[in-house]
């Protein structure tokens, strides 16, 4: 477990990890959507 001596240290650490996770989620969620829908019947949109 990390030891933090100030609120700034805690925020820098936890926010840093959170931003990395959010980046991963931004990539993973569209991929999951494609996985969920890639066998759907394609609609002609033109």
């Amino acid at each position: 477990m990390e030891i933090f001596y100030s609120l700034q240290e805690f925020m820098t650490y936890s926010k840093g990890i959170t931003y990395l996770i959010m980046g991963a989620i931004l990539i993973l969620m569209p991929l999951y959507w494609l996985f969920l829908t890639d066998r759907d019947e394609k609609k002609e949109t033109y």
Binding site: Y13, S14, T37
Partner: protein, 391 residues
């Protein structure tokens, strides 16, 4: 006016399900008398350390979450214009209406003095309390659901003009339903933000209102799927051709929606863990329990939903709906009972008595009996021939 086809089939009254329901109702009536004459201590294990028990954890928190099918289905159909889900709206509204009505009934057992129920709304508003906000929203939303349900009753009773007037309000009622549900589903989570020292850090978060609201969406969708599968099994004869034709599309569509929302829910739960830097708790006993809830009852069912949607496997999706409903019940139990007062020695922890569980079963049994009565007599699972395609 066309003659109404009779959908009331004559079935024997004494069936195993009816006998079990009858026993539960009889025991529940006795316990009701005990509760309202002898007080909480006669029928519950509640005390000053644990004033909220299974009647709040199950009857209220699970009841409200699982009744969310009403606003999710009606908003899908009327706000997002997905008319292919129209045949799911009435069963969902009925389930939601019964769910909320039974939540209010169950609350009487916990709070007591039912004649004072209107006090917080009309006489003495505690506007700084989240409970007031929850109470007000449930009161308003129950009224909205009642009005949304009335067209079916008016069709049954033969009041076409009244029905027509209410049907014109559909979009307004749907918007009100979404607004009120957003408010009180999240407020139930916000209620627990007042207990940071009592709730285990893995479940406690500033995002609790968001968690409750998002989880109510897939809880409602899964409950519609679960209830639909039961209706198909036991009330197949009550369904018309439209209902049967649309049911596969509803299962696939709701399964897909639930899967994606559940994936989003897992994502925000991980973000919540990270923001509060609670990673180290994952390696404790409570951490294993938390991971069981999050992976075993949210992430895995989300993935299985996705497999079911990809393979167009209706049965798999329906079974996953039961799994998801169990996951929601586990989540609400964790927050209100299991991870609540987690630091207390086990001797001082709350465990529900058999009479509390029996009262909860009694409430569920009342819901099943009323649901069966309504779906047998009113046009819920079929379109009334006089109003076909009138929506």
């Amino acid at each position: 006016m066309m003659e109404r086809p009779s959908r009331i089939s004559i079935k024997p009254m004494i069936t195993p399900i009816n006998v079990v329901l009858g026993i539960i109702l009889a025991i529940g009536c006795v316990l009701t008398v005990l509760r309202f004459t002898g007080g909480l201590s006669v029928v519950t294990n509640l005390d000053d350390n644990n004033p909220w028990g299974i009647w709040i954890g199950f009857d209220l928190l699970c009841g409200v979450a699982l009744a969310a099918g009403g606003y999710t289905t009606s908003s899908a159909c009327y706000i997002f214009g997905l008319k292919r889900y129209h045949s799911a709206v009435r069963p969902a509204i009925l389930t939601a209406f019964l769910g909320y009505a039974l939540v209010v009934l169950a609350l009487h057992y916990d709070v007591g003095r039912p004649w004072r129920l209107p006090f917080p709304i009309f006489w003495q508003q505690g506007t700084t309390s989240l409970l007031f906000e929850v109470g007000l929203c449930v009161f308003l939303y129950l009224t909205v659901l009642f009005v949304e349900f009335t067209p079916a009753a008016f069709e049954w009773l033969g009041f076409p003009k009244l029905r027509e007037k209410i049907v014109k309000l559909t979009i307004l009622l749907t918007i009100l339903g979404v607004v009120l549900s957003t408010l009180h589903q999240s407020s139930l989570g916000a209620l627990y933000t007042i207990v940071p020292s009592k709730l285990h850090p893995l479940w406690y978060s500033g995002y609790l209102p968001v968690y409750f609201f998002i989880s109510s969406m897939f809880a409602g969708l899964s409950m519609v799927l679960f209830e639909g599968s039961l209706a198909h099994k036991y009330m197949h004869d009550k369904m018309d051709e439209t209902h049967l034709r649309e049911s596969e599309g509803i299962v696939l569509g709701f399964g897909k929606a639930a899967s994606f929302i559940m994936a989003g829910y897992v994502a925000i739960k991980v973000i919540g863990l990270s923001v509060d830097n609670n990673w180290h708790y994952l390696f404790t006993g409570y951490g294993a329990w938390f991971l069981l809830e999050l992976i075993g009852f949210v992430a895995l069912p989300a993935f299985v939903y996705a497999i079911g949607v990809r393979e167009k496997n209706i049965r798999l999706i329906q079974r996953t709906a039961v799994w998801t409903v169990l996951g929601i019940i586990l989540n609400r139990f964790n927050i209100s009972l299991i991870a609540f007062n987690w630091h207390l020695p086990s001797a001082e922890r709350y465990f529900p008595g058999w009479m509390e569980i029996a009262v909860s079963l009694f409430i569920v049994a009342i819901g099943i009996v009323i649901y069966r009565f309504v779906t047998t007599h009113m046009p819920i699972l079929y379109e009334h021939p006089d109003y076909r395609s009138d929506h």
